[in-house]
């Protein structure tokens, strides 16, 4: 026993290091549930408070830009109002699936692999987890934790994010993902090679998940890479052999997916005003899915 205590005293640096390291790793692994811990909400809101006050200063420099953006958006909204005033569909049920709330971004970073945003509305304003967030130009992300006055959003620039999207012209569905580097482009996977997609096609949300309503603009196709090309660089011979064998051809066609590079409409680095989408039929939809 004496020896063990002596050993610990001699190596006390290492012991303290290991204890603190385990503490920090525990924080990393539990960070998804951090809204449950009241201490963290308190300390987080202090950091958010100072960021918000600092942002007042920054806003003055961007007033001109914000004004022009708002004017532009007003114009679009007015045009949409015209269309709404004329009764387009008799089914009133489909029109109240979603409602919108607005909020302001108070902190936003692009530099990490799992980017998050913080907005200035929280539980007090009726926000909950898994609500979609969009800006006037396109989608921004999904809310992943809320405190009383603030909520944090998992941005689309997050390597764990997967969003259901489709090509507007051909209606092919796929999954949007981020590669970790390029903040202007996302990749759309899982679209079969038989789809006739051209550069310049618009990509919109798919509406398979009810987090985002169908038909919100995301971006345009900027580059199409077929997986055949990427394969032939590495193991071109293997593919040639398998094509000759008739039995495998069918399998090969099923395996061929396109990698489509999508250029985002919105610039994630200067987001100011965002809209939160609340979906009314989500519970019913999830029940049906089970």
């Amino acid at each position: 026993m004496q020896q063990i205590i002596d050993f610990i005293i001699r190596k006390k640096d290492v012991v303290v290091y290991l204890i603190l390291l385990i503490l920090s790793l525990a924080l990393v692994f539990n960070s998804n549930y951090f809204h449950k811990s009241k201490v963290l909400i308190f300390s987080n809101s202090i950091a958010n408070y100072s960021t918000e006050n600092f942002n007042y200063l920054n806003e003055y420099f961007e007033l001109k830009k914000i004004n022009s953006n708002l004017l532009e958006e007003n114009l679009i909204l007015k045009n949409q109002l015209e269309k709404v005033n004329k009764p387009t569909s008799l089914d009133s049920l489909t029109n109240i699936n979603f409602s919108y709330k607005n909020a302001k971004v108070i902190s936003n970073n692009l530099s990490s692999f799992k980017n998050r945003l913080v907005i200035n509305k929280g539980i007090k304003d009726g926000l909950k987890n898994e609500m979609g967030v969009i800006s006037s130009d396109g989608i921004v992300g999904i809310i992943n934790s809320t405190s009383k006055n603030y909520s944090s959003i998992m941005s689309i620039l997050n390597i764990e994010m997967k969003i259901n999207a489709k090509v507007k012209r051909t209606e092919h569905f796929g999954t949007l993902e981020w590669d970790g580097f390029d903040t202007r482009h996302l990749t759309l996977n899982d679209i079969s090679e038989t789809a006739k997609i051209k550069v310049g096609d618009s990509i919109i949300t798919g509406g398979m998940s009810l987090i985002f309503p169908e038909g919100i603009n995301i971006g345009t196709v900027s580059k199409i890479i077929s997986q055949n090309e990427t394969h032939s660089n590495t193991k071109g011979r293997a593919i040639k052999i398998s094509v000759r064998d008739d039995s495998i051809i069918d399998y090969d066609i099923r395996e061929n997916y396109l990698n489509i590079e999508v250029k985002l409409h919105n610039d994630m680095s200067n987001l100011n005003n965002v809209y939160i989408i609340e979906s009314f039929n989500k519970k019913e939809f999830q029940k049906l899915k089970k």
């Binding site: 006390k12 640096d13 303290v16 290091y17 603190l20 390291l21 503490l23 920090s24 790793l25 525990a26 924080l27 990393v28 539990n30 960070s31 951090f34 963290l40 300390s43 987080n44 202090i46 950091a47 100072s50 960021t51 600092f54 902190s107 936003n108 970073n109 692009l110 530099s111 990490s112 692999f113 799992k114 998050r116 945003l117 913080v118 944090s152 390597i159 970790g180 580097f181 903040t183 202007r184 680095s269």
Partner: protein, 173 residues
């Protein structure tokens, strides 16, 4: 000794706010931020004992975490370099290094060769970034991504940190 802790407290607040409010939004090519907060750990007084140093670095990393909306990642990275700093100092400066802290950190920086300074600062920055980015992704799937980003960000951080330390020492003269 009390004046040392006052200096540490001042630097703590200064560097946490500088990193959290300004340099986290630096966005060089959109995704690279310089980690100027490492100046706090590079120039931390040597005469403070190691356990206190590690606890302060842990709290410092935690403060940075609150500004970057992540939890524990910066804390673990800052803690690791605080633990490794005495070994790095011993390795880089050899017999010049004394663990009791009679010499100040500015003696180390001003009375050593260029390659020693570069090795000291860049090894701390590289280790910090490697721990930070690998904890952030936490999978081997993105290993090339981590390496690439570590290299580029280290280069930017190195330029910013060494400039900042140079200014600090010039001011003290």
């Amino acid at each position: 000794m009390a004046s040392v802790y006052l200096l540490i407290l001042k630097r703590f607040i200064f560097f946490a706010l500088l990193q959290g409010l300004i340099f986290n939004n630096f966005d060089f090519y959109d995704i690279y931020d310089p980690y100027i907060c490492l100046v706090f750990i590079i120039t931390f007084p040597i005469k403070v004992d190691k356990i206190t140093f590690m606890i302060i670095s842990f709290i410092f990393g935690f403060a940075l975490d609150l500004y970057s909306n992540s939890l524990g990642i910066n804390a673990a990275a800052c803690l690791s370099i605080a633990f490794l700093r005495s070994y790095i100092l011993n390795f880089v400066f050899g017999s010049f290094y004394d663990p009791h802290g009679i010499k100040l950190i500015k003696n180390y920086v001003s009375e050593s060769t260029f390659s020693q300074k570069l090795l000291y600062i860049s090894s701390i920055i590289l280790i910090h970034h490697l721990v930070l980015f690998s904890l952030e992704t936490f999978s081997f799937e993105f290993i090339s991504l981590i390496m690439f980003k570590t290299l580029i960000t280290s280069l930017i951080s190195l330029i910013f940190c060494s400039t900042f330390i140079y200014i600090m020492i010039e001011n003290e003269k």
